[in-house]
């Protein structure tokens, strides 16, 4: 076995040093009925060649996004990741290190996290950010729990424009915590009416929303603050903040975002990186790790994990969250990609996305029977089709186009969304892809 350095001679020598006659003696505490004599019923060890062959075969059964005209978004976006990102995150010193509990041996990870936190704060327009959570959906659920702690109020109002997975995760997290979650109906293209009362801990909205619509939430923020509630803004496409007014400038109290779009591949949904930013006054209620600047005994600048008393390993049942392992390496990929992009690169990337989406929207809306529902958008929008959108997605896939997400996949019970198709275009989309898509759609609807 190529991963096991002990030789049979080593094992014998070590057992002798221990004073055991066999390895079984070291398992003597296992109840006799649970000891297994033989091997479990699974295949035996294989070399790299066999493993690579078997897994490549499975991979080949999937249609990779890069091999077809590809227009799927809905909370995960296919962007170009520069080669340097993957090279750097595979350096063993990043890849194979632990959570930086021993700061003298982890200044690299800690400084990178400090830079990441700064980048997230700048992008979202917020004062502080943490060192990442699992993903955007769990970050959103953590934001709701945080608002509950801060306001000591019992109700969260979730906008109908919030990603359905985020809504579901908030509901799952809240179901046993005594928090009431009020999820408003999804209503693409319509300004929803959001009622607040004295029990409202927070309102959660998304920008751009699940249907691609952009809104200025400043007035809602003011209403929330008047009522003593917090405004949580979710962002599922982080690249949008290269072009769009940030939640911090709209008065958001907490931002919960999906950072996958910068530095991270689609990966069939994970691992991704949850971004979490807030106002400084609430810093002690933030979940997850925080890297902070300090000095060493020689007076030199350095970094540590700080405000750890919020966390489970110290506060146990009174912790702000149970989270331990988060998305360190995905956060690093985000930090490297954003460092590469810089101000110029990110803003241009965002403009490229918007241009591609505008181009696509015009082309698809020109197909007879198709109606563009979204008024203002970044790189994703919703269309109403004359046929069920799920059917269109299936037929498009047969024609070799991955044409978007049928809203019915996420809201199967909503008949009013059956004809709604979400379509995204990033910088990866070519004019040829757009032509193929509009031709295929026209053919289907003919």
């Amino acid at each position: 076995m190529r991963y096991l350095p002990l030789t049979p001679a080593d094992r014998a020598e070590m057992l002798a040093a221990i004073g055991a006659t066999s390895i079984d003696e070291l398992f003597a505490d296992v109840p006799a009925t649970a000891r297994r004599a033989g091997l479990v019923d699974l295949p035996l060890a294989q070399g790299e060649i066999e493993v690579e062959r078997a897994l490549s075969k499975m991979a080949a059964k999937n249609i990779a996004a890069g091999s077809v005209p590809f227009f799927i978004g809905g909370g995960a976006y296919r962007h170009h990741v520069p080669a340097a990102v993957d090279h750097l995150i595979q350096r063993g010193e990043f890849l194979t290190s632990y959570t930086p509990y021993q700061p003298e041996l982890a200044q690299g990870t800690l400084q990178a996290l400090f830079e990441f936190q700064t980048q997230v704060a700048l992008l979202t327009g917020m004062e502080v950010a943490n060192a990442s959570l699992y993903d955007g959906a769990t970050a959103c659920a953590e934001a709701v729990a945080m608002a509950h702690r801060i306001t000591r109020r019992g109700k969260a109002v979730l906008s109908g424009g919030l990603h359905p997975h985020y809504r579901e995760v908030c509901a799952t997290y809240a179901q046993f915590s005594g928090l009431e979650v009020e999820a408003l109906d999804p209503s693409p293209g319509i300004v929803e009416k959001i009622d607040l009362d004295n029990e409202t801990a927070c309102v959660v909205v998304q920008n751009p929303d699940f249907f691609g619509e952009l809104r200025d939430w400043s007035a809602l923020a003011a209403r929330c603050h008047q009522q003593g509630a917090l405004l949580i803004v979710a962002v599922t496409e982080i690249v949008s903040l290269g072009a769009v007014k940030p939640p911090g400038a709209m008065g958001a109290d907490i931002v919960a975002a999906e950072g996958q779009g910068i530095g991270n591949a689609l990966n069939f949904g994970g691992p991704y990186v949850g971004l979490f930013a807030a106002r400084e006054q609430h810093v002690r209620q933030i979940p997850g790790r925080l890297a902070g600047q300090t000095t060493d005994t020689d007076g030199r600048r350095g970094w540590v994990l700080t405000l750890s008393t919020r966390e489970q390993h110290i506060r146990r049942e009174k912790a702000t969250s149970n989270i331990c392992t988060n998305s360190g390496l995905c956060a690093l990929a985000f930090a490297i990609h954003l460092a590469l992009l810089g101000e110029t690169g990110l803003t241009r990337l965002a403009r490229l996305n918007h241009a591609a989406a505008c181009n696509l929207a015009d082309r698809l809306a020109a197909v007879p029977g198709v109606r563009l529902v979204t008024g203002s958008f970044f790189n994703e929008f919703a269309l109403r089709l004359p046929i069920p959108a799920a059917e269109a997605v299936t037929v498009l896939a047969e024609k070799g186009v991955l044409g978007g997400v049928a809203a019915s996949r996420l809201y199967p019970e909503r008949d009013d969304l059956a004809d709604l198709l979400l379509v995204a275009a990033t910088e990866m989309v070519t004019q040829q892809n757009i032509d193929s898509y509009s031709d295929a759609l026209a053919e289907i609807l003919r």
């Binding site: 002690r284 700080t306 750890s308 008393t309 110290i314 506060r315 009174k318």
Partner: protein, 125 residues
């Protein structure tokens, strides 16, 4: 001499008329180490004997401060919220936490006096 009493959770309480001044003991601050953060109740709120009244944290530990007596919070020591090191430097003086208007002046009767507390701490090793 004003009445000074101690709890087994290492809080001290000093009676001043019908008002009690509350803080943590020198032993408690030593056990915690360098204090980095203090969370105090709102003046006007109520504290109950044996229930959490404040929180005190070092870089690696967090601890509740339990109210030794019940009553209404009259004042809190904002100076230790701004500069928690004051609790380490002078836990029985400048490092006080809060004052409480006592529900019951006899509330201090069951608590330890200075000598009893010193013996209690000695037992803790």
């Amino acid at each position: 001499m004003p009445t000074l009493r101690f709890t087994k959770d290492h809080e001290w309480v000093r009676l001043d008329g019908d008002t009690a001044v509350i803080g943590i003991t020198d032993y408690a601050q030593q056990q915690l180490g360098d204090i980095v953060y203090v969370e105090l109740p709102a003046p006007g709120s109520r504290v109950e004997t044996g229930k959490e009244a404040a929180v005190v944290e070092s870089a690696k530990a967090a601890s509740e401060v339990y109210a030794p007596v019940s009553g209404e919070v009259v004042a809190v020591n904002g100076a230790i919220a701004d500069d928690p090191a004051k609790v380490n430097a002078d836990p029985m003086g400048d490092g006080w936490f809060l004052t409480v208007k006592l529900d019951d002046l006899k509330a201090l009767d069951g608590l330890m006096d200075e000598a009893a507390y010193a013996a209690f701490v000695a037992e803790q090793g």
